[in-house]
Each structure stands twice: as structure tokens, then as C-alpha cells.
């Protein structure tokens, strides 16, 4: 089998995983056997059974239903944060790359600052300062942290494209700078951007999980996967189902987005594919 075949398999598996997870999150209402918030004191920490295929948690809530609904939060947080960081990053990166000079200098120092800043501190500050909605806080944090890398990437792309013949040509014909950026430069960066954003979703879901672990994640009673693992850690050796299923859900989702990103890179950005060179 060739590399390309492997890549396309990656793309297919990734796409299938992501679609599956998105669908199950969207149809959580249909698929879930129980209300994810229904407390049942009579069956607390029940092991997996027919009624509760993934068991129940410390309040007797159905873990399967919570995992299904939890997908909504993890995916929403992951995707919305990427949209925020994508928009902000593209804006900053394109501006810096195109304008050059002191604008570039200032904006790049700004990204340096953000990159060198500890995520946990930002998370805490945002958690404490911003009022509701609570899921909103967490994607604001992730968006705030994530844009800097995107900005770097876009800027590098813009710098690379800026000197190419078609841009110089457009400029000589008198197309406005904004028009050049929108019509010629951005479409050329789209491939890199798509890959980066897809991988960004994966990264965001992981970050949300560890922020939850530190107690800074999404708020109950919303069933976030990160928060569920955090709860489940107390029963790791004795009642592993509470921890294992949301953990697997995270693993699968992140894996899906990582594979999708890898596959997309192959299709959209042939320069990174060794085969594509020849």
C-alpha cells in the first residue's frame, strides 16, 4: 500500500469518527435511554447493565446518556473556540503579514506574549471575571489562547504568497490591498488554515478536559466529558466505568479530529506530502 492510500484511509476513518460523534451528539435526545440530569438515589454507582449500559454515577444518573449529551458540550466548546481563534488569528495574521513594518512587529510581539502566557492563569481569570453563560466562559478562554498560533501560521502563508507573481500582477493592475488579501491571499491560505483549525478542535477538547480536571471547566449539571473524568477518578480502581467511558469518548473524538486533520492536510496541502513533490 502506498502512503497516499494510508492518508486517504486516515481521512476516511477520521471523517467517519467525527460524523458519528456529531450525529450521536445531535441525536442525543433520541439515542439516550434516560434523561442525563435525572437523579436516582436508589441506584447510585450501579455497574453496567441492560438498563444502564455504561452504569450510573454518584447521583444515579445514567452514564451513557451523559456521555451522549456530553458530546454536545465538548464539540460545541471545541468548534466554537476554534471559530473564535480562527477568525481572530486570521485577522491578525493577515494584517501582520500584509501590512508588514511596525504593524507586523507589534502584532507579532502580541502573539509572543499570548504564546508565553500560562493557560491556567487565563482560564482562572476569565472564569472569575466573566459572568454567564458558563460554557461560554470556557470557549472564550480557549479562543483567547488559540488565536496566536493561527495568526503565526496565516502570517507565514501570507508572506509566502505575497511575493508570488499573481499577487504582484494584481497589485500592478491597481487592485486594492483589501481586495488582494480577500481575493488572492486568503484563498491560498485556506488549506493550511483548515488543517490547523481541525487539529485545533482536537486540542481544544483536550484542554477543556484538563481545565475541568483542575476544576475550571464547564459547569454542572451539564455533563461535560472532562468533568465526568474528574468525578470518575475517585473510583478509578473500584468503579472504573464512571471514568473509562467519558475518557474513551474524548479519546475517540480527539482521534477523529486528528485523523481528519491529517487526511485534510494530505488533500489540501500537497506540499506537506512527500509524494506530492515528485
Amino acid at each position: 500500500m502506498s502512503l497516499r492510500a494510508y492518508r486517504s484511509i486516515t481521512l476516511r476513518i477520521g471523517l467517519a469518527l467525527v460524523l458519528l460523534l456529531v450525529l450521536s451528539a445531535l441525536c442525543a435526545g433520541l439515542l439516550a435511554p434516560c434523561d442525563p440530569l435525572r437523579v436516582d438515589v436508589a441506584s447510585v454507582m450501579a455497574p453496567p447493565s441492560l438498563a444502564h449500559p455504561f452504569g450510573t454515577d454518584y447521583l444515579g444518573r445514567d452514564v451513557l446518556s451523559r456521555v451522549l449529551y456530553g458530546g454536545r458540550i465538548s464539540l460545541t466548546v471545541g468548534v466554537l473556540a476554534v471559530i473564535i481563534s480562527g477568525l481572530a488569528g486570521t485577522l491578525v495574521g493577515a494584517l501582520a503579514g500584509f501590512a508588514g513594518g511596525w504593524v507586523d512587529e507589534v502584532l507579532m510581539r502580541l502573539t509572543d506574549i499570548v504564546l508565553a502566557f500560562p493557560t491556567a492563569l487565563l482560564a482562572l481569570a476569565v472564569m472569575a471575571i466573566f459572568e454567564n453563560p458558563t460554557v461560554g466562559k470556557i470557549f472564550i478562554v480557549l479562543g483567547l489562547v488559540g488565536w496566536a498560533n493561527i495568526a503565526r501560521l496565516v502570517r507565514a502563508e501570507v508572506l509566502a504568497v505575497k511575493e508570488r507573481d499573481f499577487v504582484t500582477a494584481a497589485r500592478s493592475v491597481g487592485v486594492s490591498p483589501l481586495g488582494i488579501v480577500i481575493r488572492h491571499i486568503l484563498p491560498n491560505t485556506l488549506g493550511t488554515l483548515t488543517v490547523a483549525l481541525t487539529l485545533g478542535v482536537a486540542g481544544n477538547i483536550l484542554t477543556e478536559a484538563w481545565l475541568s480536571f483542575l476544576g475550571l471547566g464547564a459547569q454542572p449539571p451539564l455533563p461535560s466529558w472532562g468533568a465526568m473524568i474528574t468525578e470518575g477518578q475517585y473510583f478509578l480502581t473500584t468503579r472504573p466505568w464512571v471514568c473509562i467511558f467519558p475518557g474513551l469518548a474524548i479519546l475517540l473524538t480527539v482521534l477523529g479530529f486528528n485523523m481528519l486533520g491529517d487526511g485534510l492536510r494530505d488533500v489540501l496541502d500537497p506540499r506537506l506530502n512527500p509524494r506530492g513533490r515528485r
Binding site: 500560562p118 491556567a120 492563569l121 482562572l124 481569570a125 473524568i229
Partner: protein
């Protein structure tokens, strides 16, 4: 060259000033009065006021900011509110543990990742390749703290081979293994992928084809030519990863009770020990940017074709 270094060092100043200002502003805006927190419940207003005076919190913000900057310019990070000793001491006491963990994690990742990457490239397109790729994908998709908990369950609880977290009396080796392993998972995944793809690229290069045509054994081709060429992209990734890990891995340090700097700063945030937060973040940022500068220089040294105004990147816990 010297001009380049000087320019980069000068560019550090506004970055550090920016970071210092943002930390100061954030800690000012975040609700929670340090004096109140220190005094605990049931404290009288008079007691709290005395503590505020001792900490200098009774002065107006702009004055506090100015003092903070003036001290910073002289390299002074102030005194911890809680521990009542210089922040520099608090930081330098924790940093060796963080450095140790980060270096060990990167070292493990380097050995495992490069080994696996070479293996995958050598058996490109067959099952070892797929195996390595699948594992590396799993590596970069696993929540680090979850992996840490799992490693503890398997190696400490079930097998009883290694201690359950902690740092030991004098930093014994066996305490380092599990946290370093769990922290290295993501880096290992990245390193193996980078190694594999740059190997494949090099292996298809004309000079390798020529070497093959001359009948040089495959082993020597891999060892001598391919590895050297693959080193270039690897250095960047290793560098950025190390720089990211030096920023402290709060969750890993918490799970493994590792006395690192990430946890110290995190605790200080929760306790509103402002000088420790400010000093710690500035110190880490400094380490981060200097490490990135070093990487760029190293890169320049390995591959002089690189354009000067370089790059840098992040790598961190998630």
C-alpha cells in the same frame, strides 16, 4: 549574526513588559482580596486593614503598578505574601524539579519517538508503519492527566513497581519515571510522525537514490544520510516542546505530587499570592522566549539556509 541576537534580545523587552502588565492587570481585576483570604473568616476589619498595609495593598493601583515595574527593572520580584520570603527563592526552588521533568519527558520522547519514526520509515507501508502511526495518533489524542492516573493504577497499584507519585527524599530516579512517561506521550507522538515523514522525504532524495545505486547498504544509508537530514526539522519540534513543557505541567504535577513550578504558580493564583503569580509568570515567559531564541540559533547553526527572522512555537500540556 550578533546583530540578529541583539535584535531578538531587544524584542524580548516589550514582550516581557507586556506579559508583566497583563499579569498585573489580570490579578488586579480577578475578584478576591489577598488580605481577606489571608485573614480567614471571622477576622475583624482592623486586622484586614493592617494586613493590607503590610502588603502595600492600601496604595492606589497606579502606584502599585509603578513600584512593581521599578522593582522588575532592577530584577526584583518582591516578597511572597504568604511565605514572607523573596519570590526569586520560591521560583528557583521549584524550577529544578520542573526542568528535570521536562528534560526527562523530552528525552523519553526523543528515544521512543525517533526510534519508532525510523522503524515506520524503514518498513514504510507495512504493518510496523501502521502500528507506529496508530500509536502516535493515540499518543497525541490522550488527555495527559487521564494517562497519568492510568499509569499509576497499572504500574503502582497493580504491579507495585513504582511509587505512587511524590518526589522522594532527594529526587530518586524511580519517582521520575511515571510523570515523565505520561508527560512524554504527546511529544512522542509528534516526534515519531516528524521523524517518519522527514525520513521518507530524505529517502526519496536524489542523493539517497544515488547511494542506493552505488550499492551502499541500507543500514548505512539510514544511519548516516537520512538521520542527519531528518535532524533539522526534529530540532525545532524538540525545542518548542521543551520550551512548552518548561512552562510547567500543572495537571501532571498535581496528579504526581511533583513539586514543580506550574503547581506553585497555580496554588499562588488560588491563594491570590500576587507577587508569586507575577514573578512566576514573568520568569516562565522569560525562559520560554529565551528557549525559543536558542532554538532559532541552533536551527541556524544546523541549517544556514534558514532565513533569519525566525519562528518559534508552543507546546504544552494538553
Amino acid at each position: 549574526m550578533l546583530y540578529f541576537i541583539l535584535r531578538r534580545l531587544l524584542a524580548l523587552l516589550p514582550v516581557l513588559w507586556g506579559i508583566a502588565t497583563i499579569v498585573f492587570a489580570l490579578m488586579y481585576v480577578v475578584p478576591g482580596d489577598p488580605a481577606r483570604l489571608m485573614a480567614g473568616q471571622n477576622a475583624s476589619a482592623e486586622t484586614i486593614e493592617l494586613i493590607r498595609v503590610r502588603l502595600g495593598l492600601d496604595r492606589p493601583v497606579h502606584e502599585r503598578y509603578w513600584i512593581f515595574l521599578k522593582n522588575l527593572a532592577r530584577g526584583e520580584l518582591g516578597y511572597s505574601y504568604r511565605q514572607r520570603r523573596p519570590v526569586a527563592g520560591v521560583i528557583l526552588e521549584r524550577f529544578p524539579a520542573t526542568l528535570e521533568l521536562a528534560l526527562a519527558a523530552v528525552l523519553i520522547a526523543l528515544v521512543l519517538g525517533v526510534g519508532a519514526g525510523v522503524l515506520a520509515a524503514r518498513f514504510h507501508g507495512s504493518w510496523p508503519d501502521y502500528g507506529v502511526m496508530a500509536l502516535s495518533l493515540l499518543g497525541i489524542s490522550t488527555p495527559v492527566f487521564w494517562l497519568g492516573l492510568m499509569l499509576i493504577v497499572v504500574f503502582s497499584v497493580w504491579l507495585g513497581w513504582l511509587p505512587v507519585g511524590g518526589y522522594g527524599e532527594s529526587g530518586e530516579m524511580r519517582y521520575l519515571i511515571l510523570p515523565a512517561l505520561s508527560l512524554s506521550a504527546i511529544s512522542t507522538g509528534y516526534f515519531s510522525r516528524i521523524t517518519r515523514s522527514s525520513f521518507l522525504e530524505v529517502l526519496r532524495g536524489d542523493f539517497i537514490l544515488a547511494a542506493r545505486a552505488r550499492g551502499i547498504p541500507e543500514r548505512r544509508i539510514l544511519g548516516r544520510h537520512a538521520l542527519r537530514n531528518a535532524a533539522v526539522p526534529l530540532v525545532t519540534v524538540v525545542g518548542t516542546n521543551l520550551a512548552g513543557l518548561l512552562g510547567g505541567a500543572v495537571a501532571t504535577e498535581t496528579v504526581f505530587a511533583w513539586p514543580g513550578i506550574g503547581r506553585a504558580i497555580y496554588d499562588a493564583i488560588l491563594l491570590r499570592d500576587l507577587p508569586v503569580v507575577e514573578g512566576g509568570v514573568i520568569f516562565l515567559a522569560f525562559i520560554f522566549v529565551v528557549a525559543n531564541l536558542a532554538i532559532d540559533l541552533l536551527y541556524l547553526w544546523i541549517d544556514p539556509r534558514v532565513r533569519l527572522p525566525g519562528f518559534s512555537g508552543a507546546g504544552g500540556e494538553p
